[in-house]
Amino acid sequence: MIVVELRKLLTRPRTWITIALIDALPTLVAVLLALTDVGPRPGTGPAFLSAVLADGTLFPLAALAMVLPLFLPVAVALTAGDAIAGEAQTGTLRYLLARPVGRTRLLVAKLVAVIAFVLLTVLVVAATGFVVGALLLGDAPLSSSVSGTSLTQQELAWRTVLALGYAVLAMLGVASIALFFSTITDSPPGAAMGALAFLIASTLLLTLDAANALQPYLPTRYWLAFVDLFRDPILWRDVGFGVLQQGVYVLLFLGAAWANFTTRDITS
């Protein structure tokens, strides 16, 4: 079942078109930076973008900071929202479940496919970022942390791997929410919009001082905390909270998706 879902994901043109579109933005930014040599003014622009003119090895992180707030969650919500609701909309869910396939097993297979999509997208963005950064942008002999200290290639590499892992976990939170909505509606866009509405509300509440007490619980609160992995010493506080928080979201929404899907009447 899992292999079937993975094969379906990898052979579907939509998967690769989505990844290519996500990848296009950071690639375009890298080309523009290389052509103009004009970086963002201090205090503006995504994290790391001001540093990549001197040090192209940081561009995978700048690319991640560009796509993480909007493009990546939209793509993940669309993919995860389609997982169950897509089958229901096309009328194949009833036939899938008519085969000797348990609902929990089907949900797990769908979840694994969504995780694979998240991993694949993040890796493609990072790999493209690394290549265009190395080819087009600065070649400083030594990278520096956000705090100004020098980082060896090994230090930069493992911190980058941690950052990518953190971004994957953040997107798994989005996937769980969308997967839950996907089990309560037969409309894939409806499921994706449900998840996105949740994220947009979270982003808006983060700008409101009156919502201060709620903010540690909002799903987008710690998304960009991966930047803290590049401070010296590393600031683990928000990264730790982010991991815990996303873990809770994944557990809660997957649990809700399981409770709903395994008891739901399948009519389509």
Partner: protein, 369 residues
């Protein structure tokens, strides 16, 4: 398993995950028998206590933003996230962090280095005796000591302990006795053993929101390593050595004016230099400063003030009240190409009186440099 049991399982899990952290946070703090004067004394003597921590400060004062004062406006009007490594008063580092970078201060002996990641620029300056507030001043220990260093025993009383950064911290309330003060009270919670302040709230008169508050969310009393407070510039960074730290330090160093020793009924702050261009008056957080600004700093500020709702214009210049803070920028002073800026947590009448006096008297008598 039935549908009801499945949902009960999920809801029970959700309840545990959501309630557990709230329950831990709601545990009451153990209070202490320490008296207000003893706690005040410990706080006053805590400057050398080494510590490492993460703090957040929130300012609710919406100051008009002008070039030279934009950092000050951000400090007093926004949320600041601060990391500190404090080995002593002459060896510390404070990072003001934001989602895309950080601006760090490294202080070693007589110099302070400011590192701005996004500008890839380090600025080394001599540590000034007079300057505008900076990020490090918003840390609970610095803010508390600014409020309490000159406090009188009869101005303080005890508050119940609170749990701050995982520690039980007895509280102290300061109610300034100076009649000019626009500060209603300052609440401080500190570590009982060392006196290190862990949380501070500054409340203006008749306000429903703290003007400034600062809290440690993580703190350790272990001495940070010497390595962490040393700044070594990255190879690609621009390193600049400048004579002055900010506009106030520049005015104090180069202006020919001399502020009076006593102004509008307020004496020079204890421990601050006299007969300098910049005057500092008052005691604790009841404070007033008089800065002779050159036109290139005063003009944009004046324009910004004039555009600010609530600004008042009179013969003594343009005035603005923001929470407990009153400020007035005097008209340009004759041929001197400068204007006096008077600001402080004192009432508007005191600031106006001070501005009129400064604007009406030529204090030029001091050699430059």
């Amino acid at each position: 398993m039935t549908a009801a049991r499945r949902w009960c399982l999920v809801l029970a899990g959700a309840a545990v995950l959501l309630v557990a952290p709230l329950a831990v946070r709601a545990l009451p703090a153990d209070d202490s028998e320490i008296t207000a004067t003893d706690l005040l004394e410990r706080v006053q003597q805590s400057a050398a206590v080494p510590h490492t921590g993460y703090a957040e400060s929130v300012g609710s004062l919406q100051l008009p933003v002008a070039d030279e004062f934009s950092e000050l406006a951000a400090l007093l009007g926004e949320r600041s996230r601060l990391r500190v490594w404090w080995r002593g008063v002459d060896d510390w580092r404070v990072d003001a962090i934001d989602p895309a970078g950080e601006t760090d201060l490294f202080h070693n002996g007589l110099t302070t280095t400011s590192w701005d990641y996004q500008a890839e620029r380090a600025v080394v300056t001599p540590e000034p005796t007079i300057r505008l507030p900076r990020s490090a001043d918003l840390l609970p220990p610095q803010l508390a000591r600014l409020a309490l260093d000159d406090a009188l025993p009869e101005e303080v009383s005890r508050l119940p302990a609170e749990r701050i950064a995982g520690q039980d911290a007895p509280g102290l309330r300061l109610e300034p006795s100076m009649p000019q003060s626009t500060i209603d009270h300052v609440d401080v919670w500190a570590d009982e053993d060392t006196g290190l302040p862990l949380q501070v709230e500054v409340w203006g008169v008749d306000s429903t929101l703290a003007a400034v508050s600062s809290t440690f969310l993580d703190v350790s009393l272990a001495t940070p390593s010497a390595e962490v407070t040393q700044f070594v510039a990255p190879a690609t960074a621009e390193v600049v050595v400048e004579d002055v730290f900010d506009v106030a330090a520049g005015a104090d160093r180069f202006s020919e004016a001399v502020a009076p020793r006593r102004l509008a009924g307020l004496a020079t702050r204890p421990g601050t230099p006299q007969d300098r261009p910049v005057g500092q008056y008052g005691r604790g957080l009841t404070t007033m400063v008089a800065v002779p600004l050159w036109d290139q700093a005063a003009d944009p500020l004046r324009e910004q003030l004039l555009d600010t709702p609530g600004a008042r214009i009179g013969s003594a210049g343009v005035a603005l009240t923001v929470g407990p803070l009153n400020l007035r920028l005097a008209p340009e002073f004759g041929r001197e190409d400068r204007s006096w800026l008077v600001a402080g947590t004192v009432d508007a009448a005191t600031v106006t009186h001070a501005t009129r006096r400064l604007h009406g008297v030529d204090y030029t008598s001091r050699p430059v440099g």
